[in-house]
Amino acid sequence: MSAPSGTERPARPIAGGAVGASPTFADVNRDVLRTLDFPGSAYFGWMSLIALILATGIGCWVLQVYFGMGMAGKRNPQMWAMYITTFVFWIGIGHAGTLISAILYLFRAKWRTSIYRGSEAMTIFAVMTAGLFPVIHAGRMWYAYWLIPYPSERFLWPNFRSPLVWDVFAISTYLTISMVFFIVGLVPDIAALRDANTGWKRFIYGLLAMGWQGSDRQWRHYRRAYGLFAALATPLVVSVHSVVSWDFAMALVPGWHSTLFAPFFVDGAIFSGFAMVLVLLIPMRRYFNLYAYITDRHLDNMAKLILVTGLVLTYFYACEGFTSWYSGEPIERASYLFKWVGAYAPWWWLQLFCNSVAPLVFFWRPARTHVPTLYVVSILVLIGMWFERFNIIVPGLAHGFYPYTFGTYIPTLVDSGIVIGSFAWFLILFMGFIKVMPSMSIVEVKETIPHPVRDGHAH
């Protein structure tokens, strides 16, 4: 990834000639709409590669459905393994988006404007990916709909005491709200697209714009609605991942049964979410040449957030160790010790390095704007966070209460294929999106642009 470092300016002047001038309204329109130009062969090359991986993943799933869960590496005692790991991982990714768009909006953090659209899209696609896994994971996934409460002919309801049923509610709610919030945010921009296009495109955008005229009255309603949704979405950021964490906290398994989990998971989620935002925005900025909008300041802020959440996470790791020691429960201790020295120890230490050590470079200011460093650290963080979930689930189950059934889980091609496929699925959605919708909010960016006559330094 040889992106030009954030400090330098794009080769081509954005507007009116002067390199380094901040963009004008015209620039914004041009630059954003340009992202929707018909893509080149590189784009299609990547897309077809991703599609191939996705197809493989689907193939694996078909095998698993036909022959049974045995095709995946699961066993007794690891009844859960990579699927739930990846599920939790994606749910986590799905957090930064809402955080940026809603919470930062409420705090009126202006710098969010140029990145929130992308991260919101990321959120929705991440949740859509995560949502697949409980289904993939179920032994008889064709009956997964039994988890949904509906008045059935059998007079049977789901068990509302089961955290899995809570998941159903938490995730569906989260998906719905963030979806609506996302669409509302899009409306004015789509209207802009409608006006910018002709023919069938204009027609489609016209439908999606839902008759947006930009009239004063509409704007008033729009603002109110937008604020309302932001307020609605904010608590969800916290609730969703807390509920997901209860899948574990509510269980009896040593190392899972802990009140720590909710904040622990939420923080981890934000941590990984920002990492993913960086992983997506940095190439996007390069590809679409959006240096003027996604500036060092954005990178710097997000790096700071990663640093903070990373430190908090490290604190939680410490707590995890402390509680298992302080519990005085030999079984708790044995299970924790197993993470350190047991069959999965390498992954445990890898996780610690990625999540607790790597982000520390951001204490050093230049690193926060140095794109290669940012990129590498973000990737490390993502790896680390995936393994954090893995290390909670797999070693936790491997060394529970009953020594006679201790055993090591070995992944197979099938479950690996499905997990990798999920990344392809996510990317295909995201890359599709950036070509049909403005990946940067025209309206809000414009709002943050200073009046030409005034001094360039707006904030």
Binding site: Y150, P151, S152, E153, R154, F155, M210, G211
Partner: protein, 178 residues
């Protein structure tokens, strides 16, 4: 514009609700409307004649109903018990009797087509229900009026459960699923 949007949304919500609403069909058992057409049996055996006109007790032929989970089918021998001598006045029906006698000569069973079938994971003891004094018609409909028997009860879980709830039958899942 706004109007259209609202209509759109309302329509959407309604259709989702429609999808969720189940076909909760808990018809009273003794309903007469067949829920499936009567299959073609190898021998046109008329329950109407036997159980209706001649008032032969159900358990004379389905003798295991009171002592086993299966109601049981009459052996060819039992059919012949009467049909050695008994013939039908109706020439058409007599043909059917002849079929039976032919099978008896070749010592071959009648390959009846199953009408009432529960899923394999459901254990339904006829015995308990018969001993409790339930009429066969409760689940099988007014068989004595049917020339060709068809299934009238849905035999779905909801249908079983509602009856059990009514009559304080056991509602423990394992009673039927084990």
């Amino acid at each position: 514009m706004q109007v259209r949007v609202r209509e759109l949304l309302v329509g959407l919500i309604l259709s989702i609700a429609a999808m969720l609403l189940p076909g909760t069909d808990v018809t009273p058992a003794s309903a007469q409307t067949p829920i499936a057409p009567a299959p073609k049996q190898p021998i046109l055996f008329s329950h109407k004649i036997h159980a209706g006109d001649f008032k032969i007790d159900c358990q004379y032929c389905h003798a295991d109903a009171r002592r086993s989970s299966y109601a049981g089918l009459p052996s060819v021998k039992r059919c012949m018990g009467c049909h050695q001598i008994v013939a039908s006045k109706d020439a058409e029906l007599q043909k059917e009797v002849e079929k039976l006698r032919a099978l008896w000569k070749e010592a071959r069973p009648v390959e009846w087509v199953r009408i009432h079938k529960l899923a394999g994971f459901v254990y339904f003891p006829h015995k308990r229900h018969v001993q409790k004094g339930l009429a066969c018609q409760q689940c099988h409909g007014e068989v004595q009026t049917m020339t060709e028997v068809a299934q009238v009860a849905p035999l779905t879980m909801g249908w079983c459960v509602s009856c059990h709830a009514e009559r304080q039958g056991p509602l423990d899942c394992v009673v039927c699923h084990h």
